[in-house]
């Protein structure tokens, strides 16, 4: 494969990834601010964003650290939130699976909501791409998303120290998550999964250390899968 087509795939990816900067920037900054509010040092906050590189899981961990949940519960709950990454990994494997192991490792590290969603959309729209072109495109999409995730976390962490505890800041995290829920409810099965999960979460909220989250998450997944089969939903 010519290097030229890989380069053009890369730049096409950069262009398609650019709009996500508008979401990633404020979200990363919010993490930086909230982490600082929770008492994390700047290097610890950066550690989260570079080592974990997963918005929702980072916010979950932060919330539970604030509640003084045991370390194991923090880890298990945040990983439960990240379980969807396994689905992304499964879904992108037919496209990037033939790559050498180290390139698959790089793709895995940068596999986040936005890079996954944009890449899979492109692979389905332009199915004639070579594996190298697909990988170049993925790296292109990643470029305006992942490095800014680190940068804006840093800005939030540094600026956060100068932001006084303000009205309703405790509620920024639920708002950020809730904003993501609406667009996820694409089919009746998705709506049933979400509804079941909410009801279970409220019913099992009495369980210690947010274990209700795991019960509700699993229950919601089962409800969604059942609904998909019974309603014969095509995805």
């Amino acid at each position: 494969m010519a290097a030229g087509t890989a380069m053009s795939s890369y730049w096409r990816g950069v262009r398609d990834g650019l709009p996500f900067l508008a979401v990633v920037g404020p979200f990363a900054m919010l993490f930086g601010v909230l982490a600082t509010e929770a008492g994390l040092a700047v290097h610890e906050t950066m550690g989260f964003s570079i080592v974990v590189i997963a918005g929702a899981a980072q916010f979950t961990a932060l919330q539970l650290i604030n509640e003084n949940a045991p370390t194991l519960v923090v880890i298990a709950s945040a990983l439960a939130v990240n379980l969807r990454m396994a689905m992304y990994s499964a879904s992108i494997t037919p496209h990037l699976g033939p790559l050498p192991l180290w390139k698959r490792g790089i793709a895995a590290y940068f596999l986040v909501d936005q890079t996954y969603a944009q890449s899979i959309l492109d692979y389905e729209k332009n199915p004639d791409q070579t594996t190298s072109e697909k990988f170049a495109y993925f790296l292109g999409v990643m470029t305006p998303i992942c490095p800014p995730w680190y940068l804006f976390t840093f800005l939030g962490a540094v600026l956060g120290e100068s932001i006084p505890p303000s009205l309703g800041l405790d509620f920024a995290l639920p708002i950020a998550f809730l904003a993501m829920v609406g667009p996820m409810l694409r089919t009746p099965a998705h709506r049933i999964a979400a509804l079941a999960a909410v009801l279970l979460a409220l019913a099992f909220a009495w369980l210690p250390y947010n274990m209700g989250l795991l019960v509700a998450g699993l229950g919601g997944m089962m409800a969604g899968a059942q609904a998909e089969v019974r309603l014969g939903i095509k995805l």
């Binding site: 396994a86 499964a90 708002i175 904003a179 667009p183 999964a193």
Partner: protein
């Protein structure tokens, strides 16, 4: 507050765990097919876990000592409604934040 050692333990474990989840199929499954029932459950992970995480925080906010709070309920409802109707995460966050801040100042 969790101490420094525990914090780094959390960061490293989450990093390894998240990478493991992302690498699981890409790295180890390769081109082999997965059972349909596994995929079917994985499809609903995000849409189940995230609402389950948020629901108790909305109804029983920590900041009010677990008492339902009109300002936070209104902000949550506005965020969800805008996200659902426009499918735009950023617009939903903006409207939710605006409702939250303006009601906090008014009430």
């Amino acid at each position: 507050m969790t101490d420094t050692t525990e914090l780094w333990l959390i960061i490293v474990a989450l990093g390894l765990g998240s990478f493991g989840l992302r690498f699981a199929f890409l790295g180890l499954v390769g081109d082999r097919a997965m059972p349909e029932w596994v995929l079917r459950h994985l499809r609903y992970t995000a849409v189940a876990v995230i609402p389950a995480l948020v629901a108790p925080l909305v109804l029983w906010p920590t900041a009010t000592g677990g008492e339902p709070d009109a300002t936070r309920l209104a902000a949550a409802a506005a965020t969800f409604a805008v996200g659902y109707l426009t499918k735009n995460v950023f617009a939903a966050m903006g409207v939710g934040a605006t409702v939250l801040v303006s009601l906090s100042l008014l009430l």
